[in-house]
Symmetry: C2
DNA sequence: TGATGATATGTCATATCTGACATTGCCTGC
DNA sequence: GCAGGCAATGTCAGATATGACATATCATCA
């Protein structure tokens, strides 16, 4: 696994093992995490595209800035339910979301 | 809203208002529910295609038959996290899931 | 009819998520 | 340097999800 993705996961509170990387994590779990990361990235990009701050989004959602930050970081404590609802709240369509879900994780960066 | 979908939602514990139907439910919430229903349907179809019973799937998941039934019914008490993890556990690929997420709700039946 | 297998529903203790708040880190401009 | 706004992180009480169990419904078949 590349270092940037590794860092990404650790920031998100996943505590990736130092050497063996994803040893012990099944392929299914990996796919699930990828989906979550893709949704989180999509949320951030959508917010930035709308020119909103995390605080503004939080107000719109009836939530808090810290929660929005955690959503975008795909933190452990945020569910895909929350990510999906948030994407739709920012105007995403089902096919927008489908694109995020279906995309390969390598092409998501940058 | 058609009667079958209405029944579907009620079975799932959503208690849809009798006359006004989705009055008061935002478009975003509707999209979210549609995604959930699509994932649940996809899960059921995948299980059936594999020729497995809910009990067998439950064993494989380390869960219970009742929980699997609720997943397939898209019951209130099941999250999209659980649905996604379950789909992947039954061998779905990210693009399989993306197809479910992106599809129009009308074409999902039958 | 009963019996069996499969699926659905209700409830509950525990686990996990959620929003809130405080705090910290990170820039950019002064 | 230090304000200012913006983003990230830690913690916590209340809300929601989860698996388990009991039970109910529904077919199919002897």
């Amino acid at each position: 696994m590349r270092a940037d993705k590794r860092r990404r996961l650790e920031r998100a509170g996943w505590s990736v093992g130092d050497a063996g990387d994803f040893l012990g994590v099944s392929a299914e779990e990996r796919r699930f995490i990828d989906v979550k990361l893709a949704l989180a990235d999509g949320l951030r990009r959508r917010r930035e595209r709308l020119g909103l701050t995390q605080t503004q989004v939080a107000e719109r959602f009836g939530s808090s800035q810290s929660r929005v930050a955690k959503m975008e970081a795909a933190h452990r404590s945020v569910s895909t339910d929350l990510l999906l609802k948030s994407l739709f709240r920012l105007g995403a369509s089902p096919s927008d979301v489908a694109r995020l879900v279906g995309q390969k994780s390598r092409t998501r960066a940058a």
